[in-house]
Subunit: 256 residues, 2 copies
């Protein structure tokens, strides 16, 4: 299932520009944020009532259910343990939520953008990239969090509730503007899980450039979840072995 | 051995202020940088000719030895494999260095400040802290890099060539100024190595607040190096075991 017409968003975004941020370096976050908002606006044009920032969705959900109090009842509003795990805030914050003090945007929210339609959650994360510089692939999602998501999908037999998508904007600075030169989109569950790179020392993040992610996986979501868990377990074992080889063995001779 | 009179620096710094940075958040790097420069100025007052930024030291060393070409010869100028390992840049950058294109400051340099006297290198790293907020302890140094340093110290029998020191500035925003409310200094080699916390998922960084580091170690540098290597190896083994417990075992049941 796919709600957003990413091809159309791509077409509408390529060639557009945002003003160069006044402060901060061009490499990172600040430059990207404006394009992030730009994509959000474009998607909201397609689905005005179904498009949210993650915190907006939570505020909307809890506001529409004012009689639902406490984290357990609020978590149950998701009708899906997996989606709840991906999108909700912590127990304490969820308990304390009220309409006078709603949630604000948080940098480590899972989704930049959520499109929610017919009980299906399309999670979209925006990655922006200064293509005049070569850069390491960005952090995508915690490999451990994704393993927990896959386990929950299997435990709850939930394979048609959500998708996770990445949209990359390639930009260049021209004069006082950042121009979008190209754009790419991928679905995580259409990539071959065996090719995913886990950077264990960088908070166990999956790292890839969106434009480089294959879309060759032919199985269903259940087989994706199983294949990912197999890959994750193999990589964790490998990393544990590597730690012994690299951080234990060479130093043992110094210990009395 | 100690060159810098840290007690005097501390006295001179407490109560001073720097202007609030115009842009950026107050939490992080930008706010700290001004105090970092402030400490540098104070130390340079004590030792005008012996105080350097790390890149300045390298530029000074290679400029004074213009006939020394190539990375091997330049590395040998340090007269200490351990200090060379801690302070030099990579082979390629060192080969390419010349007086017309000297090194510039790099964020991941080991030392913010170097005081070099009688062939002894006092490495000083400045940590700044907004005490109106509670924050995670900052990254100090790569635990692996420090293990390599300790191994080199033992291999080369070099225990009196350098020290590693941390200086913390506690500041508060008052009006348009950041005021230094307190300051702390510690020597890494006077702390008990067994208490050092290694964050394996955060680039294997040692993390502590300078003001919290004990200074109770009574042994010499050789016993410190050995005790640290014992601790590092134990922690690496523990982390490898933890990875199996946390990332392998819970997910094995999902794999066919």
């Amino acid at each position: 299932m796919q709600i957003t017409d990413f091809k159309k968003i791509q077409k509408n975004i390529i060639g557009t520009s945002v003003p160069k941020p006044l402060s901060g370096t061009l490499s990172g976050h600040a430059a990207g944020e404006l394009f992030d908002k730009h994509v959000y606006t474009e998607i909201k044009k397609q689905y005005p009532k179904q498009t949210f920032r993650q915190y907006e969705y939570l505020n909307d959900l809890y506001s529409k259910n004012p009689e639902t109090i406490g984290h357990e009842a609020r978590f149950a509003l998701f009708n899906s343990p997996t989606v709840m795990f991906l999108l909700s805030r912590g127990k304490n914050a969820t308990n304390k939520w009220n309409i006078e003090s709603p949630f604000e945007e948080k940098q480590n929210d899972t989704a930049d953008i959520l499109v929610v339609k017919d009980d299906f959650y399309e999670i979209i994360d925006i990655k922006t990239r200064n293509i005049s510089k070569s850069a390491q692939p960005p952090n995508i999602i915690s490999a451990y969090k994704l393993a927990q998501v896959c386990a929950k999908m299997i435990d709850n037999d939930e394979f048609d509730k959500f998708s996770i998508n990445y949209f990359e904007i390639d930009w260049l600075l021209k004069g006082e503007k950042l121009i979008c030169e190209n754009a790419h989109y991928v679905s995580l569950f259409q990539s071959n899980p065996e090719t995913l790179y886990i950077n264990w020392a960088a908070a166990m993040q999956l790292q890839f450039h969106v434009c480089d992610l294959d879309q060759e996986f032919k199985g269903n979501k259940k087989s994706w979840a199983k294949a990912y868990l197999k890959h994750f377990v193999e990589q964790a074992k490998k990393r544990a072995d590597y730690m012994i080889t690299k951080f234990v063995k060479p130093f043992e001779k110094y210990i009395d």
